[in-house]
Amino acid sequence: MSTDDPRKQLLRARGAKLIVTVLLGAMTAILFRVQVLGTSQWRLESDENRLRSFTVPSPRGIIRDRDGRAIADNIPGYSLSVDSRPSEEMVASLTRLREHFTMSDARFETLVERARAGPIRPLLVSLDAPFDVVAKIEERKAAFPLILIESRPKRRYPWGEVASHVLGYVGEINEDEMNSPDFAGVPRGTMVGRSGVEAVYDSILRGEVGTRYLEVDAAGRIVGSFRGTRTIPEQPGEELDLTLDLDLMAWIHHIFPEGMSGAVVALEVATGDVLALYSAPTFDPNIFLGTVDQEEWNRISQDPTSPLLNRAIMGKYPPGSTWKLASAAIALEVGVITPTERMPVPCTGAFRYGNRIARCWKEEGHGSLDLAGAIQHSCNVYFYQMGLRIGLSRLLEHGNRVGFGDRCGIDLPQEATGTFPDGPGYWDRQFGYTASEGEVLNLVIGQGPNSQTPLKIAQFMAAIAGDGSAPAPTLFRGAERNDGWRLDVSRESLQHILEGIRRVTGPEGTAFLSSLEHFDLLGKTGTAQSGGDRADHAWFAAMAGLPGEPPEIVVVVLVEFGEGGSVTAGPLAAKTADYYLRAQHGIPQDTIQTLGEYLRAGRSTRWAYTR
C-alpha cells in the first residue's frame, strides 16, 4: 500500500509544508509584533509589575552654632508604614500592629480613615518607632507582611531646652503645606520645619528626597533593592551655621530664675551677630519629633506660661526707662540739646506743664542735671524738658526712623512689630482725641503707646554701643546683611549717653551690685507696667567690655513680673555678659560674678571702688 500515486502524495506533502509554514509564520509575525514592535510598552508594564518606588528621606542639614557645635543633628531612626493594599487588609494590619506599637485611639482612627480613603502608598504609621518595637516586628516579619520598616534619619536637638525657641522644631508635612508652592515636590512623610530657624531655612535644611526602587514579587513580597539607573539619590540638606553661642545660651538657661518668664538677648556689638536669644519658660523640641501625641501637644500649647512663645521676639513690653536712651539719642540727633548743658528747670520731684503736673520717680527730686546725670538717675524732669524741645512730631518721626514701629527683620518667623505711633494722627485713630504736645511727656520717658520686643531694645543698644548703626540682627551667618538704620549722632555725643549708663553700675548707681570685677558693665534699668495687679516687668539693657575699651556685647534682659530692673534683670544681664567676656578673654569662668555675689560670698570687693 505504499504511495501508489507519487504526484498526488507530493501535492499533499507540499500542502502540509504550506500549512506548517503559514501557521508558524503567523506565530512568528505575532511574536515580532509583541516582542519587537511593542516591547517598550511591555517593558514598562514589566517594571511597573515588579518595582515599587520608595522615597528615601534626606537627612536635614545640621545646624551649628558659631563655634561649630551641632545644635540640631540627626540620629538613625525608624519609620513604620503599612504597604498599600486593599483597605481592609491594611486595617487588619494596623489592628495587629497595635499589639506591639502603642497608638492612641484618635491616631488609630485617623490611620484607618486614611487607609480607607484610597491608595496613598505606603501609609505612614510612625516616623519615630522605638527600637524595641522595630525589633519585635522584624522578628515577627511573617505575621506582618504589610509592615514596612525603613530607617530614616531622625532629628535630634542635643542641647534640648537651651535653644528650642530659636531652633524651632520639625514635624511631618501636613495637608496645607503639601498644597503650598513652598513645599512643591515634597512628599508625604517628610519632616519640615515648624518654627524658628528650622522653619525659616527649611528649604536649605530640607534637602531633597531620593527615590529608591524595591523589587517585589507577584505576592507583593519585597525581594530586594533595585539598583537601576532610575534610582535618584537623596540630597542631604545643607548645613546651617548660626551666629549663636550655645555655651552662652546654656549658661543663660542655667542662671535664668526658675519659674520665671522672660527673655535674654545678647548681640555682638562689632558685627550685630545674635549671640544668644533665649526665652523662658522653654520646652524640649525633641518631643515634637515623630508623631506628637495630642495630649502632649495640648499640655504644652495650653500651658498658661506659654512655653512655645518666643518672648525675645514675640513678647512686647512697654520699654519704660530703657527708652530714655532712645529719647536722648534722638535729642542729640535733632540737636536740641548739648550733652553738657543742664535743663533750665531743676528736678524737684515734679514738673509743671500747662495745668498738668508730671512727676519724677524720685519725690525729693534730682536737682540740676546734665545728660549723663539725667541718664544715671533716670530723671524724668530732665527728660520732660528735653522731650518738649524735640517736639511730638519730631520725636515720632525719628522714633519711627529708628524702627520702633517696625520689626528688626531677624531671620525668625513671627517677630512682633513694635507698637509706636506713626505720627500725631495715631491718637485720633486709636483713642479718639487729637494728640496735644503734652503726649511727648509720656513718650519721652518710655511710656504711652510704646511696646517693644527685647530684641528691638537690644538692636538699639548695639547701635549706641557702636557707631550708631544697627544692621538687622541675623542668626544665619550666611544671611545677607541688611543695613538697617543709622543714628545721625556723633561718637562723642554717644559717649555722653554711655557715660550716663556707666554710672548706673557705678558706686552711686542703682545697679551697682551688678557691676563686674573684670569688665565694664554699662546698663539701664527699666520698669514696664504689667497692667494687672501683679508686679511690673523688669528690664535691664546693658553693654559690656574690657575696662576703658569699647563695649563688645549688648545684653538685654526682660523678666516678667520681675519688679525693679536692678534686682532680677540686672544681675542676669551682668552674669550673661561676664560669662561671654570671660570666654572671649581667657578668664576662667566663675559662678561668683557680680558685686552682689562677691558680697554674699564674702569675697574682697575692693575692685568695685577703685575703678
Partner: protein, 412 residues
C-alpha cells in the same frame, strides 16, 4: 539524498539532533523556571526530573527506532484498546495535579504517576494510521465513519477528564492523518464543518452565511454524495449550531470566561485574564534579545503563571527575546519539514500516516501553546512539545518519534 542505494530510508540523524536540541532547550528553560528570587520548594530542581525523562526518552527512541516495524504493526490495535482502557480507568481512579487538582488526568502506579492521555495519543495515531493504510481509500463521507469513531472514543474520554487541550491534539492527529491519506479536500472540509458550525454560532447572520456555504458545497459536490450523507451532515451541523448558539447567547461575558475556564480546569478561575496579561508582559518585555538566561523578572518574581509547563515559551520569550522565540519556532518548522520528508520517503504508507498523525498532534500543541502565550488564543492548558515540563509527554513524544523512525525503515 534521502534514500540509500538499497532503497532503505536513511536513519534520520537530523531528526534525532533537532529533537535532542529542543529537549535540551526544554531542560534549560525548566532549570531557569526554577530560578526564582524567592525560591519555592515545589519548583526547584524539576529540571533534574525532566533530564531523567529525557534520558529515558532518548533510550526509548534509540531502541524503538531499530525495532522491526512488523512488531509494531501487529500490536497496533491491541495497543489502541489498551490505551482506551487505561483512559477509562483514569476517569475512575485518576487524580489531578497542582492547580488542576480536580482534573482526572494522572494515573498513579506505585509512587510513579503518568498521564495516560499521552500514551493514548500515540496509540490512537498508530491505530488511525493502520486503519487508513489498510482500509479503502477515502472517497466518500461515509468512509469517514470508522476513522472518526476510532478517534472519537479516546477523545471523548479525554474531554471527560476534562482536558480540552489534550483533546485538541486528537483532532490534530485526525486531520493530519486524513490529509496524508489523500482524503479529497471537500470531504475534509465537510469533516471540519461541524466544528465551524459550533464556532460560528455566536451570530445568526454569520451562521446563516456558513449554512449557505455548506449547502453550496454539498450542491457542488452532489455527484459524489449520497442523499443520506448530505442529510446526515446537515443534521449534524444544525445540531452543533443549535446547541452552541442558545448556550453561548445566554451567557454574560464573565460567564463565557468561566466556560473557558471550565473547559480547561488547569487554570485558576480568577486568574485567567491575569495569566494572559502576565505572559504577554513577559513576552513583550523580553524585546529582541531578552533579559538573559535566568534573568527574566516576570518569571523570577513569580508573575508568570505555570512557568514550567504551559507558559515555558513565555520564559523563552522573556529571557531570549524574539531571537529566542523565533529560533525555537524555526526549530519546530525544521522538525515538521523533516517529518514530512520522512513520510514522503517512507515506503510504507502506514509509516507516513503515523508520522502525519504525530505531526498533527505536535503542530496543534505548538500553535495553541504559542498562541496562548502571546494572547491570540484562549488559555487552554496545553504544553509545548519537548520543552514544557512533563515526564509523560516528553517520554511519549520520544517514543512516538522512535516508532515513526522504525516504521519509516520498513521496506514493504
Amino acid at each position: 539524498m534521502a534514500q540509500s542505494r538499497k532503497g532503505v530510508v536513511e536513519w534520520p540523524r537530523s531528526l534525532f539532533v533537532i529533537l535532542l536540541s529542543l529537549s535540551v532547550v526544554g531542560v534549560g528553560m525548566i532549570y531557569s523556571a526554577g530560578e526564582l528570587s524567592l525560591p519555592s520548594p515545589f519548583t526547584e530542581g524539576l529540571w533534574r526530573r525532566q533530564a531523567v525523562f529525557l534520558l529515558a526518552g532518548v533510550v526509548a527512541f534509540l531502541t524503538l527506532s531499530r525495532l522491526p516495524s512488523r512488531l509494531v504493526q501487529t500490536l497496533t490495535y491491541f495497543m489502541y484498546i489498551a490505551g482506551v482502557a487505561i483512559l477509562a480507568v483514569t476517569l475512575v481512579v485518576g487524580s489531578g495535579r497542582g492547580t488542576a487538582a480536580g482534573v482526572k488526568s494522572f494515573l498513579s502506579l506505585g509512587g510513579f504517576s503518568f498521564q495516560p492521555a499521552e500514551l493514548a495519543k500515540v496509540t490512537t495515531a498508530l491505530a488511525l494510521a493502520w486503519m487508513l493504510a489498510k482500509g479503502p481509500e477515502i472517497q466518500h463521507l461515509r468512509d469517514l465513519i470508522k476513522p472518526t469513531a476510532l478517534v472519537s472514543v479516546p477523545l471523548a474520554l479525554v474531554v471527560l477528564q476534562p482536558d480540552l487541550g489534550t483533546a485538541m491534539a486528537f483532532i490534530g492527529i485526525y486531520f493530519a492523518a486524513l490529509l496524508w491519506a489523500r482524503t479529497p479536500l471537500p470531504i475534509m472540509l465537510f469533516a471540519m464543518s461541524p466544528g465551524f458550525a459550533m464556532l460560528l454560532a455566536w451570530d445568526v447572520r454569520v451562521w446563516g452565511a456558513f449554512a449557505i456555504v455548506l449547502f453550496l458545497g454539498l450542491y457542488l459536490y452532489r455527484f459524489k454524495l449520497m442523499m443520506k450523507e448530505s442529510v446526515s451532515l446537515i443534521l449534524i451541523n444544525v445540531g452543533a449550531g443549535a446547541v452552541a448558539q442558545p448556550i453561548w447567547n445566554m451567557l454574560a461575558p464573565y460567564q463565557r470566561n468561566r466556560l473557558l475556564v471550565f473547559l480547561n480546569p488547569e487554570q485558576d478561575p480568577q486568574g485567567a485574564g491575569w495569566q494572559l496579561i502576565q505572559s504577554k508582559i513577559a513576552m513583550g518585555s523580553g524585546g529582541l534579545v531578552g533579559k538573559g538566561f535566568t534573568e527574566g523578572t516576570q518569571k523570577r518574581l513569580n508573575f508568570l503563571p505555570e512557568m514550567h509547563t504551559d507558559f515555558i515559551f513565555s520564559v523563552v520569550g522573556e529571557e531570549f527575546g524574539f531571537v529566542g522565540t523565533s529560533l525555537v519556532l524555526v526549530a519546530f518548522a525544521y522538525l515538521f519539514f523533516r517529518m514530512i520528508r520522512l513520510a514522503e520517503e517512507s515506503r510504507d504508507h502506514f509509516a507516513g500516516l503515523f508520522i502525519f498523525g504525530i505531526l498533527g498532534a505536535w503542530l496543534t500543541h505548538v500553535c495553541v501553546n504559542v498562541g496562548m502565550t502571546v494572547g491570540v488564543l484562549p488559555i487552554t492548558g496545553i504544553p509545548l512539545p519537548f520543552i514544557s515540563y512533563g515526564g509523560s509527554f516528553l517520554l511519549m513524544s520520544w517514543v512516538a518519534a522512535g516508532l515513526a523512525v522504525s516504521l519509516s525503515q520498513n521496506q514493504s
